[in-house]
């Protein structure tokens, strides 16, 4: 019995030691390394993560914490003052700029770091080769008329005619951009689409569902899905999403990706952004399947 008592006492002592131990640790960590909180867009999170990792090798004294969640959460963190860099796949809204001014006394700094083309994915067995923005709008918009593959002029061997629409959750930057660029600013999505919470999820579901169509960043392309060419209007030439077509603005659904920083961000943040905009950072964009900035 005495032994058990000793064991339990030791356990309690160890517990309290650990608690004080980690307390102290928290203080130390802050002193030794500079950290950059990088939060935001799901579209950019893979890229941001790859940057963070590569920069960790180039500059070991800086630790970069990357979190996804979406452009909204990045901007919110910027406004709350809990991040150093907000990743956003959309511009700040006027209201958000005002809030930032109220918080920091100046506008947050905006850096364009690259582009993302939204690709339209279908199953490889789908004979569809091109689609127009109007058709996409009729397919996804509330009140839109297209719901069957035959209405797009194709039949998929061995799959039902009804189109399985794959979309994103309603506050992701990708959802917002798709709504703005394809459906029209004031329109809403039709109910009944699968609203998945990750860019990879969309591609994955399309790859296992012959009658599905979905939109996601071109960086998520795999060889198990087919990318459809998109035309601005029916009759105009359909464009494949590539670096050239994005940069010369012929591909209709591509958007810039931004870093936003508070106006009072530290020098180590500026140095990191310089690195991202430089040769190494930009090379990484292409490697990850996104579109780098125009060569200067």
């Amino acid at each position: 019995m005495k032994r058990i008592k000793q064991i339990s006492f030791a356990a309690l002592a160890a517990a309290s030691l650990l608690l004080t131990g980690c307390d102290k640790k928290g203080g130390d960590a802050k002193k030794n390394t500079l950290s950059i909180q990088n939060i935001g867009s799901d579209t950019m999170v893979n890229l941001a993560q790859a940057w963070a990792e590569a920069y960790g090798k180039a500059e070991p004294s800086v630790s970069i914490e990357v979190a996804g969640g979406g452009s909204g959460i990045g901007v919110a963190a910027l406004l709350n003052g809990t991040c150093d860099i907000a990743n956003s796949s959309r511009h700040l809204e006027a209201e958000e700029v005002e809030k930032a001014k109220a918080k920091y006394g100046a506008e947050p700094k905006e850096y364009k770091v690259g582009y993302d083309a939204l690709a339209i994915y279908v199953h490889p067995s789908n004979p569809l080769n091109e689609i127009s923005v109007e058709q996409l709008s009729d397919l996804y918009r509330e009140g839109g008329t297209i719901s069957k593959w035959s209405e797009l002029g194709v039949t998929i061997p061995g799959a039902p005619d009804e189109i399985v629409r794959v979309s994103r959750q309603n506050n992701s930057g990708t959802y917002h951009y798709f709504r703005e660029a394809v459906l029209g600013k004031k329109a809403d999505f039709k109910k009944g689409s699968r609203d998945l919470s990750g860019s990879k999820d969309v591609v994955e579901l399309v790859s296992t569902t012959p009658s599905a169509i979905g939109y996601s960043g071109i960086g998520y392309r795999t060889d198990k899905v087919k990318v459809v060419k998109v035309s601005k209007k029916k009759g105009e030439p359909a464009i494949e999403p590539t670096i050239e077509t994005t940069l010369n603005k012929t591909y209709p659904i591509a958007r810039p990706m931004f870093f936003y920083t508070p106006p009072n961000a530290g020098a180590h943040v500026a140095k990191y952004i310089d690195w991202v905009l430089g040769k190494d950072g930009q090379a990484m964009i292409a490697e990850k399947g996104y579109i780098p900035l125009e060569a200067k």
Binding site: G72, A76, N171, R179
Partner: protein, 312 residues
């Protein structure tokens, strides 16, 4: 003669006893804290001016467009339908197996076999929900697609199977406790009257243990309603009424339609809303709805169990 204890020891003991009292009521503090803080974030939407939130539409509208630019609508009817559809079907799947399993464990099984079965069940109950969600996507999705020849395997059935698998171990172990609580002389009396084991189970054991079994089922329901990651990944997360076809008629294939639950909606959307926005507050309000539903279920289960204790 009692030795006098030093003053500091008496003092320390009093202190410890007060800490114990404080910890004792911590459960109450936490329960009220949960209500308070969730309501603190979600409640203001009820009286804040200048939002598109209407309490009347909240429960009755099928339009969930919290991020619309022009016409924000906060109706959670489809989410409620999704939650109850998935929960209901999962309980239908789980109950026969769980009660059968509980009967087997308590009536037919002895010694080592019983011990090992109970250990396995306990281990299975511990598998985290994120793993079940992963199973839903990678294992059950292709199985449903190929067995039932449907376009998407992420649907009501998939989520229900996962919830059933998750809830079954708990229901079995609580159900077994309930059957164990039926006094042995009931069984002896039935067998002495010449009843077969079969008759004994259906005529004596199940009626006698029905409250306990009901409590087991209710706890399963509570777990299924509150489950998040598993259903987020397995339902297909689609704003959709599974019972209605595009043309408005009843859909007999509702099991193979995607739907969306209350829990999954919060999990998928909370991360990106800015703190204090109407969308953020409405998500917390959904949290209160969920809290209320599970409280009612748990209280009922608790009363049912109390009922058994009183009978004895």
């Amino acid at each position: 003669m009692r030795a006098k204890r030093p003053g500091y020891a008496v003092f320390a003991e009093k202190g410890i006893e007060w800490i114990i009292r404080l910890c004792g009521i911590s459960a109450i503090i936490f329960v009220f804290g949960i209500f308070f803080f969730v309501f603190r974030e979600g409640g203001p939407i009820l009286w804040e001016k200048g939002t598109d939130f209407r309490l009347g539409d909240f429960f009755t509208s099928t339009d969930w467009y919290p991020t619309s630019m022009e016409n924000k609508r906060y109706g959670i009817l489809l989410l409620i339908i999704g939650t109850f559809t998935v929960t209901g079907l999962s309980i239908l799947i789980a109950v026969p197996f769980a009660i059968g399993g509980a009967i087997f464990l308590s009536e037919f099984c002895t010694g080592k076999v019983k011990e090992w079965l109970k250990i396995i069940i306990e281990l299975l109950a511990a598998i985290p929900s994120i793993v079940w969600g992963f199973i839903g996507i990678t294992v059950i999705n292709p199985l449903i697609q190929s067995w039932f020849d449907v376009p998407v395997g992420l649907n009501v059935l998939n989520a229900s199977i996962i919830l059933a698998l998750m809830a079954m171990p708990i229901m079995v172990s609580i159900g077994e406790d309930a059957l164990k609580a039926v006094p042995d002389n009931y069984r002896e009396a039935a067998v002495a009257l010449g009843a077969t084991r079969w008759q004994m189970i259906f005529r004596v054991l199940l009626p006698a243990g029905k409250n306990g079994l009901l409590a087991a089922v209710l706890l399963g329901v509570g777990r299924a309603v509150g489950e998040t990651m598993g259903v987020l990944m397995a339902t297909g997360h689609s704003l959709n009424n599974p019972y209605v076809k595009l043309d408005g008629s009843f859909n007999p294939m509702w099991m193979f339609e995607s739907c969306r639950t209350l829990t999954a909606t919060i999990a998928s959307e909370l991360g990106e809303t800015s703190v204090g926005s109407p969308h953020y507050r409405v998500l917390f309000l959904i949290g209160i709805v969920l809290l209320t539903i599970t409280f009612i279920i748990n209280l009922t289960a608790d009363l049912v169990v109390k009922g058994i204790r009183k009978q004895k």
